[in-house]
Symmetry: C2
Subunit: 344 residues, 2 copies
C-alpha cells in the first residue's frame, strides 16, 4: 500500500477537530451553535435551550490510577463537564456516563467511582439519566456527556469580546498543574519502595486543585446577582494563554494581559520555586484550573472591582495589536498556546 | 489489603447498571425519564422534549478493524444511536462524537471514519455539534451521544405494553449475527495467508446487515402516516429474547412469540445450515439487527396487517403466564436472554 499517511500530531487537537468537522453542514434549525464553544446549543421551541458538552477520559492519558483515587476521578469527570455548561452561562441538569472497564476492575472499584459521580451530582444538582457500560481490553475509559439549560438570550459564547472590554478570571491559576507535577514527582520517588508514604504537608491545596477541582457555579450566580452579563466566556481547561487565543480569534480582537495581575496562590509560588519552574509560565500554560475566564464591558468595572472572587487581569484590544502579556517592566511578550495537548 | 472484590461478570451488564444507578435520586423536574429506556427524556418548557442516548464502542470489544472498514464503522456508530431515538418515536437531530486514537491511526484513517459519520448524518438529517478528541494508549475508542426531538405525548416507552397487544417487528432477525460469524470464520481461514480474498458471493446481505445496518426511520414514518402509535417500543440490539424481556418486565406483562412468525431471510437460513447453527436461536439471541420491536393495540390490527414491512410475531399476555416461544407444534418454551454481553 502506498497510501498517504499524515500523522495526527502534525495537526494537533484543534487542527484535527477543524479538519474533521469543517465538512459538516448544519441541517436542523434547532442547532443554534455547534462545534467550537464550551458546549453546543440546541433549541426546539420556546425560550429555553439545551446545552450539550462531552468529555472522554482515558486511563494512562488523562488520569493515572496510581495516585488518583477512583472517587476523586468520578467527581472530577463530572465537574469538568459542569464547568463547560457554566462557561456558557447555563445550568447543568443531566449527565450520561459511559464506561469501558477491563477485568482489573471490581464492582467495589466502580462503586468508588460512582460515589464520586454521585457526590458531584448532589453538589451541583444534576441527574444521571443514562449511559452505556461495556468491557474494555485495557484500562478504564470514561465518557461523560452533560446537558444544561439556559435562556437563549443569556447564553455567553466565546465570540462576543469587544475592544476595551475587561478580561477577568475567577481565581488563581497554575495550582492544578503544580499539583500534577508534585504527584508525578512523588510517584517517581516512591516507585517500587513500599511502605513509604509521600509527604504532601503544606501542599494540600495543590493536590486538591488537581484531584478535586470545583466548577465555578458561584461566579455565575454572583454575576447574575449583580446583573453583569459577560460578553464572552470559557473555562480554563487547557491554560490561560490557549483560552485567550480562542476568545480573541473567535471574537476578532487582541488583548493585553498583565503579568502582575494574574492571581497566583502562595503554595503554587513555593512549589514552582522548589521545582525550578517559572510560576508565570505555569499560570499561563498549566491548564486544568477550571476557573472561568470572561470579558465584560468597561461599564461593569465598578461592579466587578468590588467582587473579591473576580480578578481583572487585562483588557481587549484591536486585533492588529496582537495578544500580549505585559511584563512587570512594561515589556510586551506575545502569548503562545503551549497548553497540554494529548495529540501533540 | 483484604477488601472485598466482586467480579463485574457476576452482575452482568444490566445488573451492573442497576447496581450503579439505583442510588441516584431525580433532582430536576426537567428530567422526565432517566436510565432504563432507549433514551432519556428531558423537557425544559413547551411541548417538545430532548431525547438523549449514548454508545461507547471500543476496538477489540465492539469492532474488529481486520474486517470492519473505518467508513462503515463511522456509519454504524451513528446509526445505532439514531436507532435508539427512533425507538422512542423521536427524530434524531444532533450528535457529539468523542474519539480516543492511538498512534497507529493517521489523519487519513480518521478521514475515512468521518466520511462514514458524515454519510450517516446526511442520510438521517443529523448535525454534528461537538465532541472531544484525544490520544489513547491502545486502539480506537468512539463515544457518540445523540440528541433527538419528540412531542411529549408522542414518546413511546418500553413500559406501555398491555395484555392482548400485538407484538410486531420491522424486519428479519439473525442476519447481522450470521454476518459476524461469517466474517470471523473468514478471518480464521485467511489469517496469515496473504493474497487470498475471502469469498462472500451470495452472502452480501449478511455482511451488509452486520457492517452497514440502517435505522428504521421509515417504520416510524409509516406508523405515523397510518396514525398507529405503538404502546411500547425498543430497537433490537441485544436480541429479540432479551428485548422482549425488557418490554415485559417494564410493562408488567407476559408474551407469546410464534416461532413460525419470526421473519428470517433466505441467506440467513442457508448460512445457519452451513454453520450448523439453529436459525431460530440466531434470530432470538443474535442481536445487532437494529429492527424496531413494538407492541400495538389489537384495534390497530387491520392497519398493521396491510403494512408489508411490519411482521406480527405474537401477542402480550398476563404476567403470570410467562414469556414463551410457541414452537411449530404448539409447544411452549420459555424465552431466555442469551444476547451478546461484553461483561459476562
Amino acid at each position: 500500500m502506498d497510501a498517504k499517511r499524515t500523522e495526527i500530531s502534525t495537526l494537533g487537537e484543534f487542527g484535527l477537530i477543524r479538519h474533521l468537522t469543517e465538512k459538516f453542514p448544519r441541517r436542523n434549525t434547532s442547532t443554534l451553535h455547534g462545534v467550537g464553544d464550551d458546549a453546543a446549543v440546541i433549541r426546539y421551541d420556546g425560550d429555553r435551550c439545551t446545552l450539550v458538552t462531552t468529555d472522554l477520559l482515558l486511563e494512562g492519558i488523562h488520569f493515572d490510577l496510581q495516585y488518583t483515587p477512583l472517587k476523586h476521578l468520578g467527581y472530577k469527570s463530572c465537574v469538568v463537564n459542569f464547568s463547560d455548561i457554566y462557561a456558557m452561562n447555563g445550568t447543568p441538569r443531566q449527565i450520561t456516563v459511559s464506561l469501558g472497564v477491563s477485568r482489573r476492575f471490581s464492582v467495589e472499584d466502580l462503586d468508588e467511582l460512582y460515589a464520586g459521580i454521585r457526590l458531584a451530582c448532589e453538589t451541583y444538582g444534576v441527574d444521571l439519566v443514562g449511559g452505556d457500560t461495556s468491557a474494555s481490553m485495557t484500562g478504564l475509559c470514561i465518557s461523560i456527556t452533560c446537558m444544561g439549560e439556559a435562556q437563549a438570550d443569556q447564553i455567553v459564547y466565546r465570540n462576543g469580546a469587544q475592544v476595551n472590554d475587561l478580561v477577568c478570571v475567577s481565581g488563581n491559576l497554575g495550582a492544578a498543574y503544580l499539583g500534577l507535577q508534585l504527584l508525578e514527582r512523588e510517584k517517581r520517588v516512591l516507585n517500587g519502595q513500599e511502605g513509604l508514604e509521600p509527604d504532601f504537608a503544606g501542599k494540600e491545596y495543590l493536590l486538591q486543585r488537581q484531584l478535586k477541582p470545583e466548577a465555578r457555579r458561584d461566579i455565575i450566580e454572583l454575576l447574575r446577582q449583580h446583573d453583569v452579563k459577560p460578553t464572552s466566556m470559557m473555562d480554563v481547561s487547557d491554560g490561560l494563554s490557549s483560552e485567550m487565543m480562542h476568545i480573541c480569534s473567535q471574537s476578532g480582537v487582541g488583548c493585553r494581559i498583565y503579568e502582575d495581575k494574574i492571581p497566583i496562590d502562595y503554595q503554587s509560588a513555593v512549589m514552582a520555586e522548589e521545582m525550578n519552574l517559572n510560576i508565570v509560565t505555569c499560570a499561563l500554560n498549566g491548564g486544568e484550573d477550571y476557573e472561568l475566564l470572561f470579558t465584560c464591558s468597561i461599564n461593569d468595572y465598578d461592579k466587578l472591582v468590588l467582587m473579591d472572587r473576580v480578578y481583572i487581569i487585562g483588557h481587549i484590544t484591536k486585533p492588529e495589536t496582537g495578544l500580549m502579556l505585559v511584563g512587570r517592566q512594561g515589556e510586551e511578550i506575545p502569548l503562545r498556546a503551549q497548553g497540554w495537548n494529548s495529540l501533540e
